[in-house]
């Protein structure tokens, strides 16, 4: 794990499944601060922190694609922004897969979402199983 300096916004668009530049777009939309918290041969982790105190970690492959996001904190993040083109799939699948308000698990061929917690303490992660870089294990995404 490396801790590197805060990056300046660059401005761009896209998110989960999108290009690396989408991290800056997320940062701007969510008015969040950002730093790199991990950087290795397989991927780089960009951590954003929203004004509400929720931390969002975006996992960018060495090829420059966001393949996973994870969050924890007192409020849910802007999932429409983080999930991008996958958000509609997510909400549709979530409505059909309810298991109680404290937990949600979505398993689609292209998208896995796991969400847990209550107001004041949420945790979740989403990833694109078909784009996971080699050498990345699910326990790395948290």
């Amino acid at each position: 794990m490396l801790l590197i300096a805060t990056m300046a916004p660059r401005g761009a668009s896209a998110t989960l499944g999108g290009a690396m530049a989408s991290v800056e777009a997320d940062q701007q939309v969510m008015n969040a601060s950002q730093q790199i918290t991990a950087n290795n041969a397989a991927y780089t982790v960009y951590e954003l922190q929203t004004a509400a105190g929720t931390k969002i970690r975006e996992y960018v492959s060495s090829a420059g694609t966001v393949f996973a996001v994870a969050w924890d904190g007192p409020s849910l993040p802007d999932l429409r922004q983080l999930f991008g083109s996958y958000f509609a799939q997510y909400t549709e699948a979530a409505a059909a897969a309810r298991r109680g308000h404290g937990h949600l698990v979505i398993r689609l061929p292209e998208l896995i979402v796991e969400s847990s917690g209550h107001m004041r303490a949420f945790f979740g992660r989403a990833y694109l199983p078909k784009t996971l870089p080699q050498d990345v294990t699910l326990s790395d995404i948290r």
Binding site: G53, T91, G100, H118, M119, F123
Partner: protein, 404 residues
């Protein structure tokens, strides 16, 4: 809260009977030895309006503040994992109008309530809340799906799918009787955070701050008496489950002859998150919760088989070949510790072999939160579980704590 498992066989007839029974009064009656006391409310685990498993319900009466115009809503979830009363607007007649609360700028205050699986949206209204013989005046409650505020701001709908109907939410409302007084707390009082409180003039909604006294509030903390917490009392259920289980929601801790702590052990919880520590399989889980609104035990154990994600009865729940008898230790922040035994049955077989049963003490599923170990409703069967509200004095000191 509630459960995604749907039943193989129709329970419409059963549900209709349950609804009739629930409609017979304001829920004061007849389940425990102390049921005639004014601080005891009947609670029931049954299929309910959305045909769910391990969902704990009660009835709640709301009244126009200071008046006698009241309505009783049945099949409201009893949730020790959240705080505040939320009622589906669809369960009240349009003619029943509660006063709208405003933000500090005088605009209507509307709330986006976040859950892990979606959100509810609706105005914050003021109501007198009556449960059993207890009463709280002018409680801020959320009216979910109120047609007066139909347009949901993007920063609210961006948190997940909408749960603004009985079918989507799984109940006619939720009675949050957790350790907190307000749902959001001080962070919403000082910051206008996306996805929480909104000021909604006719021109549209904007994020706003909401002072503590305007936030949706745990009604118990505002009761005139017995206001320092609750006890959820549920009898044990057989290993094959039960179709209906009745118990008692007792208000107050150590305030009456029927709500003393007795031999119960007190586990203080973190004041910011309401969580405590559970130790299981030589691992420590720091985000642990006793949550009547969770339908199962949720914890991680890679050695227990999981039902197929497409299982029609229990997708993604634990499905061990045979029932596992396990134990874990609850550790309060006050150093108190207790080891609890619990069982994990094959969820597919449990539901498939016991049609009509919706109350199970041995239902479990994997937890995705790395530090999470959720003691859901199964842990409440056969116990009296105390939940003490933050900053309220009790015979065992200030809340927040849980005890059993």
């Amino acid at each position: 809260m509630s459960c995604g498992m749907r039943h193989k066989f129709s329970t419409c007839a059963f549900a209709a009977i349950a609804l009739l029974l629930a409609g017979c009064g304001d829920g004061g009656g007849g389940v425990s030895s102390s049921s005639t006391a004014s601080n005891v409310q009947a609670i029931t685990v049954e299929a309910g309006p959305a045909n769910t498993t391990n969902t704990l319900f009660t009835s709640v009466t709301v009244c126009v503040p200071g008046g006698s115009d009241c309505r009783t809503i049945d099949h409201v979830l009893v949730d020790t994992g959240s705080s505040g009363l939320r009622i589906m607007a669809s369960e009240l007649p349009a003619s029943f109008v509660l006063p709208q609360l405003t933000d500090s700028g005088g605009d209507p205050l509307v709330e986006c309530t976040q859950f892990a699986d979606g959100y509810t949206w609706g105005p914050v209204k003021s109501a007198d809340v009556k449960i059993a013989g207890e009463q709280a005046a002018a409680v801020p409650i959320q009216m979910i799906g109120d047609p007066g505020f139909a347009a949901v701001p993007a920063s609210c709908s961006s948190t997940g799918p909408a749960e603004n109907t009985v079918a989507a939410f799984g109940a006619n409302g939720v009675l949050g009787v957790g350790v907190f007084m307000q749902d959001c707390g001080s962070i919403c009082a000082v910051s206008a955070i996306p996805g929480f409180y909104y000021a909604c003039p006719v021109s549209g909604c904007q994020e706003t701050t909401a002072s503590l006294e305007r936030q949706a509030t745990n009604p118990v903390g505002l009761f005139a008496n017995d206001n320092n917490g609750v006890i959820v009392e549920l009898p044990a259920v057989p290993d094959a489950g039960a179709a209906t289980v009745t118990g008692a929601l007792v208000f107050g801790i150590g305030t009456q002859t029927n709500n003393g702590l007795g031999a119960a052990q007190v586990f203080k919880v973190r004041p910011d998150t309401g969580r405590f520590v559970t130790a299981y399989n030589n691992q420590t889980y720091t985000d642990s919760l006793l949550d009547s609104g969770s339908s199962a035990y949720f914890f991680a154990d890679n050695n227990i088989a999981v039902c197929d994600p497409s299982d029609p009865y229990a997708p993604g729940f634990y499905c061990p070949p045979s029932t596992q008898d396990l134990s874990a230790a609850i550790n309060g922040t006050n150093g108190a510790s207790a080891t609890l035994g619990f069982s994990v049955a094959n969820a597919h077989a449990l539901v498939n072999d016991n049609p009509g049963n919706v109350a199970f003490n041995n239902l479990a599923a994997p937890e995705v939160l790395p530090g999470g170990f959720i003691w859901g409703l199964p842990a409440f069967f056969g116990r009296n579980v105390y939940t003490a509200i933050e900053q309220q004095n009790t015979s065992a000191g200030l809340g927040p704590y849980v005890a059993f």
